[in-house]
Amino acid sequence: MQRDKLAPETYDELREIAARYPQKRSGLLPMLHLVQSVQGRITPEGIEACAEILEISAAEVSGVATFYTMYKRRAVGDYHVGVCTNTLCAVMGGDAIFAALKEHLGVDNDETTDASGDEKAITLEHVECNAACDYAPVVMVNWEFMDNQTPESARQLVDDLRAGREVRSTRGPAICSWREAERVLAGFPDGRADEGPAAGPASLVGLEIARENNWTAPSPGGERPLEQAPVDGGAR
């Protein structure tokens, strides 16, 4: 496989990450995200670069890289599709979705499709709870939420991804590539923060019920324990 060389600019950015912290080794996790964004996986070359900048051994960097599930030793496709199969999502349909995608894509867990021509490659993995249980069953694409999936919707999702059609997260922007996502995780914003909604429907159900019933938090009571700065009420 052709490997992208680490450019001098990448070294500069790795050093820039390390410099964000009082002690530079704290930068290692985001630095490894940057390595993945450049090289599509954790490479021996990327490990050496981190070790050199942080003045630790390559074995120490390797030890960290192999500990965390988001770091990949094998090349990830254009899109990483993670199906939650922790208990709640599994019961609500995650197991059925994962089985459907394995069959549809012809790959097993943690494997990547063979992409031909213009087709995009997909890496399929089952993931643990991704903190979206009120939207179960949940699929993540490059760590963006795809809420309330079914086997049918998930098959359509991966077909759209493979064909290069635009896919929007149900609670976020148009899906970028996995490498672009890794760059954001390394701490380099991509300017898409304003895309997508503030909250999905399930996040708002309690608030909607409160609004319907005119339920609010109590107003702060008569005597103020703290001095008299202008305040807005805790409730509208």
């Binding site: 709870c129 991704n130 309330n148 309690g206 609010t216 703290l226």
Partner: protein, 439 residues
């Protein structure tokens, strides 16, 4: 009389672009910071103590007391102090911090600044799990906006107080939600828990005094400063003060986030959520994530506060109410959670590393209908050998679903043995079961 639901943290989630600084400031955002900077550090700690705020990340430790453990900075203790926000929300069922940071990241950022000032920290970190890209974007932007507006950086609001805040993305490890593992991870190491003492308040990040608080705890601070400790303490129950976010998931008609005073019951919450899905009854539920022992329909009227849930034999945890109806096989559910703990055990302590592996072996055998009744006793014995024998609570949490499910559903385990396998149809429990979809 307090209303049933009391939106405070969630109150702005339906506003127009509430994640932006302009929106947050238009609703009084960063006014609490001004007020806090006019107080002494000790006054802020006292206000938070008086409010009765307890940690929202699961353990429920009083937040103000945690802050007060930070030693004073003097010639004997010259090391810098740090605030670390635990935004590694990963406990199965827990899904409150992610929507909060997505919708209103500035509430958290303002809380970070006030809390850092209170503990005399000039450097703070938000350690957010890496698997939530858009949340990280919103946090990064909020922090940038706060710097540009002078809420972060040098001489904040002309007070002379300086604070640097870094958003740090993790890389996929449940164990990093454990506070000392989080610190090791933030130091660029494998996320493995540390032996305590020393506690982080004495030797935390870079062996310096460190406070680690959950997102919801820190996000509650601005409203406490704004409205006063009595306002906060008037909500909730005697020892469990204030409002919290309850997260309902699973087989209810309207799963989602419900912000209420501590002490609401699951019966009330399920009523608000439109009941269980049609034609089915509640079978079992977790009050605060998979590490809290399962409860059943007999516990519907337990007030969901720290004391009452503890009295019912479980823990309030993160109020992650995962609700399962009668179509769900409890053995399948528990096996899956156990596989999760096995996968996420960091490997440092033998009872957890080896024990979770063995638990999976025995549970798999039982689920296939190939075990014997003695395997239930074997499981309980294994749990006994794991519980309380490791550095952190991951192994303890792994035993919770097993011991509680055997307590309440022993017959269902046995039915797998007498019937030669699982008697449930997994398709019936899915959200799309009505469409007749199958794996």
């Amino acid at each position: 009389m307090t209303d049933v639901l009391t939106p405070v943290l969630t109150d702005d989630w339906d506003a127009d672009r509430p994640w932006t600084l302009a929106s947050y400031e238009s609703r009084g955002g960063y006014a609490a910071l001004d007020r806090a900077l006019g107080m002494t550090q000790d006054q802020i700690v006292d206000v938070v103590k008086d409010s009765g705020l307890r940690g929202r990340g699961g353990a429920g430790f009083p937040t103000g007391m945690k802050w007060s453990f930070i030693p004073a900075k003097d010639a004997d203790n010259p090391k810098p102090h740090y605030l670390v926000v635990n935004a590694d929300e990963s406990e199965p069922g827990t899904c409150k911090d992610i929507p909060l940071m997505m919708a209103t990241p500035h509430t958290l950022v303002e809380g970070v600044i006030i809390s850092s000032y209170a503990i005399r920290a000039n450097h703070a970190f938000i350690y957010v799990r890496g698997e939530v890209l858009h949340v990280i974007r919103r946090l990064q932007q909020a922090v940038r906006e706060a710097y540009d507006a002078g809420h972060l950086g040098k001489d904040i609001h002309g007070s002379g107080y300086d604070l640097e805040l870094v958003v740090h993305a993790g890389a996929g490890a449940y164990i990093c939600g454990e506070e000392t593992a989080l610190l090791d991870s933030l130091e660029g190491r494998r996320g493995q828990p540390r032996l305590r003492p020393p506690f982080p308040a004495v030797a935390g990040l870079y062996a310096s005094p460190t406070v680690i608080n959950n997102v919801e705890s820190i996000a509650s601070v601005p409203s406490i400063i704004r409205n006063g400790p009595d306002w906060f303490a008037a909500l909730g129950t005697e020892k469990s003060k204030g409002f919290v976010i309850y997260s309902l998931s699973g087989h209810v008609n309207r799963p989602g986030q419900y912000e209420a005073p501590l002490g609401i019951t699951l019966r009330q919450l399920i009523d608000l959520a439109g009941g269980m899905r049609a034609g089915h009854d509640l079978k079992f539920w977790t009050p605060g994530g998979s590490s809290t022992p399962l409860l059943t329909a007999e516990h519907l009227d337990v007030p969901l506060d720290y004391e009452a849930v503890g009295g019912a034999g479980s823990m309030l945890g993160t109020r992650a109410l995962q609700i399962f109806d009668d179509t769900t096989c409890v053995v399948r559910a528990v096996l899956r959670w156990t596989e999760f703990y096995k996968h996420e055990s960091c490997g440092k302590c033998t009872p957890c590393r080896e024990g979770t592996w063995w638990l999976v072996q025995v549970l798999e055998r039982l689920e296939r209908g190939e075990g014997t009744e003695e395997d239930l006793d074997l499981l309980l014995d294994q749990c006994d050998n794991i519980l309380g024998r490791s550095f952190c609570a991951l192994g303890d949490g792994a035993t919770s679903p097993i011991t509680s499910s055997i307590q309440y559903f022993r017959d269902e385990f046995l039915a797998h043995l007498s019937g030669g396998g699982c008697p449930f149809d997994p398709a019936a429990s899915t959200a799309f079961a009505a469409e007749g979809a199958r794996a």
